[in-house]
Each structure stands twice: as C-alpha cells, then as structure tokens.
Symmetry: C2
Subunit: 296 residues, 2 copies
C-alpha cells in the first residue's frame, strides 16, 4: 500500500519552508519562499503544494497566532509587529484552495513535536523546545500534548534580572520589555551590545558568552521550575552558532543551588541539549501535524 | 442508587485534613490531625478513614513528592526539609491498610483540580492555582490534565528581580535562593522583614503591600507567559488575609506593557482572582481524585 503524501509548511517571519514527505519522517522535496506580502506569498505557497498531490498539510506558524481550534480566529495571525500579516487568516488561505485536512500550531510547538516524535525527546511526555534566533520562542509539550491555553506560551518574554556588567543600556532588544529573555539574549540584543555583530562572531569572546549564558541559565531555571520538563532542547541561530548551551548548564545548577534533586538534573548534559535532527525539527513537526490531521 | 462514599486527604506539612463526601462535591464529615511523626500520624489517618466505609481515597500531598504513577517511588515524599518525612511511602502507608483505590497528587495540583471541577475555573482547560502561605506552591492544569513531568512544577521558587527598596537583606525566606518568589513573598519573608509580623498585620501598610505586590506581579507575569492559563487563582494565608491579589493586577499589566493582547488580560479582574470555594478547593480536589481513582 502506498503511504499518503503529506505536506509540511514552516511559516516563518522571514521565509516559508514548504516540504512533502511521509508520516515516518521521510522528507521528499522542499522549497523556500520568502515571506513578503501576505497575498503574493500565500499564492506561491498554495501553488507549490498544489503541484504535489498532498493528502493533508501541517502548518507551524510564526506568532502570535490563534491555535485553539475552538476559537473563531483559529489559524489567524494576531498582533504581530509584521503589520501586513496582522489578522491574516493563514490557515483559511491555505486550507480552502488546497482542500485537504490541515493541522495548525505555532512554529515552536511544531519543532517541539518534531523532537518528541522523531528527535532526541522521542516518546517523552513533557518537553520544552526553545529557539534563540531573531527572537526567543518556546514550544511546550505537557502530558504528550502541546500547550495552548489562553493563546500559546510566550515564554521568550519572561523577565530576567539584569547583570550589572551588561553594557546593553536601559533599553533591550525587545520593544516591550527592558529585561526579558528575548530582549537580552536574542540576535537584536547581541547586535545592540556588540556593534552589530552576530552571535557567531562572538562565540570565542568569553565575556560576551558568560553574560549571555547567565541570562540563558536564568530563563532555563524558570522553565525547569514551571514546566518540570523531562528534556529541554535548544535551537535557533544564536544557540546553533555558539557554545551557549554548554556554558549555561553549570550556571543552571548554581542558580538551582541544590533545590531540585532528580536524575535529570544530575545528568544535566543530556537534560539541556542542542536540537537534534540537523535543524529539521520544525518541518518534521509539521509533517506530524499533517499526519494527525489526516487521521482525525 | 446510593452514591459511593469517597475519602479525601489533604496531607499538609502542619496538618492532615481528612474528609468524606460524594463525587458531586458534597463534604459530609471532616477531621484534622496534626502532622507529627509519620508513623503515628499515618496510623491516626488510617484509623479515621477505616471508621468510615469509603470506596476510594484521593490524596493531595505536600511536596516534593513523586506523582508519576510510572515511577518506582510513586506516592513517596522526596527531599523535604521535614526530615522525618523523607522517603516516607505516604500512598503505600494508606492504600495498603485501607484496601481501596487511591488517587495521588500534590496538594496544589489537587487545589487546582478542585477549582477546575467545582470552583471558579469550572470546565477550564488551562488553570494555575497558586498558594502563598508558609511557602509558595503552584498547581497547574494544561489541556485538562494536571502537570507532573520530571517531578511536578516548583514554580514557587522562580527567581525574581530584587526591588532596591526591599529591606530584607542579602538572604531571603528561602534557604536555597536569595531571590525566589517564595523567599521574597511567603510568610517567612514577611516575618523576616517586618519584625516577626504576619501578613495580616501588614494588610494596611501600603509600603509593605506595594513591595509584595510588585514581587507577586513579577511571578504572575512569568506564569502567564509560560503557562498561558485561562485563569490564575490565588489562595493561602498570605493572599487570603491581605489585598495582595488586587494590588498585583495593575502591576502585572505594567510589566506586560501591552505585550499580550487577549480578552483575559483585558479583563484582568476576572483573570487573576482569589480562590473560590471558601478555602475548600484542596479537599474538593482530593474528592475528585478519589472519584477518578474509583472510576479507573
Ligand atoms: N552564523 C550565523 N548564521 C545565521 N544566524 C546567526 C549566526 N550567528 C548568529 N545568528 C543569529 O541567529 C538569528 C537567526 O536565527 P534563526 O533561528 O536562524 O532564525 P529566526 O529566529 O529569524 O527564525 C539572527 O538574529 C542572527 O543574529
Ligand atoms: N491572619 C492569618 N492567619 C493565618 N495565617 C496568616 C494570617 N496572615 C498571614 N498568614 C500567613 O499565612 C501562612 C499560613 O498559610 P496557609 O496557607 O494557611 O498554610 P500553609 O502554607 O502553611 O499550608 C503563615 O505563614 C502566616 O504568616
Ligand atoms: Zn519581551
Ligand atoms: Zn526558593
């Protein structure tokens, strides 16, 4: 029997990654379309998937977006700084012309799902996926289910305590919060502090790395205490191109100060890890969303 | 047909609250036993429930405790400062002599369940219950399921940013963390700062209340961003006897700074609330745990 062909779409703020594949995690073809004007961009996405005979589509979308199927706005982009995309019915714009069942979640929840189904958190019930790139986003699985709630987690914006040695100034990389994790750790914060440099160019700067690792450790401690995850997986450009994950681990232990005694914390090197799957966790999670849409 | 009689046990660090009732939330009888030596205390608890013909028992236990039914230590108390209770198999010590099906979770998860089944969060899928008393504990429901994961949430110990006006000194009320929520807001922190006073004696002190409300708001913002709950319910002696919940609401909005645009945040007075059920959320949650144990 032939496996049904599935479609996977990582709808990001800078690019749309379209792919086809099978439920077992095989990716057959993929294509990137820049995220520009919503109308033209989505037309190209529809055209690409239309030229492949997909039976279902899984979408991981940039946020904030409505991910509760019971919401009247399910599948729409919400209050984003990308004003052209505000209130765009992303799911509707794809599901209607394509005429196949669609799964829909945030890009980071999809990546979390990808790691939990195909990657280093395979079979685990409680997983945090963190991306540190242009922004910080968290995808979270609790009891094998992705977290939505009121909207979806926005754990990249949790408030941290400023390091007095931080040269960033009174503002941060986040327009809303002077001291949130995204505002202090993500790409724009790095550019702001270190003359426009990218994280990869600072990978060998011990002072810069120590500052960022301290902030990342603060955020990780909060995620550990709040979600009690069985694994934390970190992806995104900033984490991928620096030793930040390794540097944050001992700082996490320092901050916990012996408070949590679990086998996971004892084996912190396998508890807090860089992403697996060669960066394909997001698109593979979308494939799994497609599989679930087809099944239900 | 007769309703089956259910048992509910709130196993707290200072007292054991035993009750009988029905699945519909009726409490028939209750009794308090001080939490002293484990052997003697549990013997009294067993004797009380043995004298009532219960068909199942629901237990909400002080933590840290093993709440994952798959764990070999399920139902045991873990690394607690109450050293006599360390490694006590609380569930076994009750389930064996009583010979009825038992449900087991943390006291705060039980209270969260009580609010979600019988109280002000009835029917909601994603709920945070916070108690601010001798310590701070959080019970959390996500997608209608209580959160366990690696252990269970310990969200009372998230790190906050110190207010420069705080007279508490370098240490806090938490022996592990100089700046965690429990260490800065709970009973011992209040005693430490204000000459042994209890929170209720400071309810009319605007400076004290503002300091505590600022810290509580920091913690609430983190819970909102991490869990994306549909409601946050706050109980415990410190919250019950002060205007802290009301004072924290505007501070939460200030800290979010317009970042989350949802109907819930717009209606913050019904989003962040004092507990309902006249303080019976914990014991009613235990009753629901008993009902579930009987059903499964
Ligand atoms: N060598 C690198 N290549 C690409 N991005 C990098 C590199 N080093 C650091 N970064 C940072 O990663 C961010 C991009 O993150 P990424 O996760 O790839 O995308 P996004 O977050 O935009 O979806 C940029 O802000 C950039 O500063
Ligand atoms: N009027 C009051 N009555 C009882 N406790 C109070 C009062 N005001 C403040 N508290 C504080 O509440 C704490 C007890 O909280 P509670 O939630 O009742 O119990 P616990 O946290 O020990 O389970 C004490 O630390 C006490 O300081
Ligand atoms: Zn922010
Ligand atoms: Zn603490």
């Amino acid at each position: 029997m032939d496996q049904p062909l599935l479609g996977a779409l990582e709808a990001g703020g800078t690019k749309m990654v379209c792919a086809t594949g099978y439920a077992d995690g095989t990716i057959l073809e993929s294509s990137e379309i820049p995220t520009l004007d919503p109308g033209a961009t989505l037309e190209q996405v529809v055209a690409w998937f239309s030229s492949h005979d997909i039976q279902a589509l899984g979408i991981g979308a940039f946020g904030p977006t409505a991910v509760d199927p019971a919401s009247p706005r399910f599948g729409s982009i919400l209050e984003t700084p990308k004003t052209a995309w505000r209130n765009v019915d992303l799911l509707g714009a794809l599901a209607q012309p394509l005429g196949v069942p669609c799964g829909y979640d945030t890009d980071v929840n999809a990546a979390c799902l990808g790691e939990a189904i195909f990657g280093c958190a395979q079979g685990m019930s409680d997983v945090v996926y963190l991306t540190i790139g242009t922004g910080i986003g968290a995808g979270v699985m609790v009891n094998h289910q992705l977290v939505h709630g009121m909207m979806h987690p926005e754990a990249g914006h949790i408030l941290l305590t400023r390091d007095p040695a931080d040269p960033i100034g009174t503002e941060s990389g986040c327009p809303y919060h002077a001291s949130c994790a995204e505002g202090l750790i993500a790409g724009p914060a790095i550019k702001r502090r270190w003359g426009g440099k990218r994280a990869s160019e600072l990978a060998d700067d011990p002072k810069a790395m120590a500052l960022l690792a301290g902030y990342l450790a603060q955020a990780l401690v909060t995620y550990i205490l709040c979600y009690s995850p069985k694994k934390i997986i970190i992806g995104g450009g900033v984490a991928d191109h620096t030793p930040l994950v390794a540097l944050a681990r001992p700082r996490v232990r320092e901050l916990l100060n012996g408070y949590l005694v679990t086998p996971e914390i004892e084996n912190i090197d396998t508890y807090i890890v860089n992403n697996s799957l060669d960066g394909r966790q997001g698109i593979l999670g979308c494939l799994e969303l497609a599989r679930r849409a087809l099944e239900s």
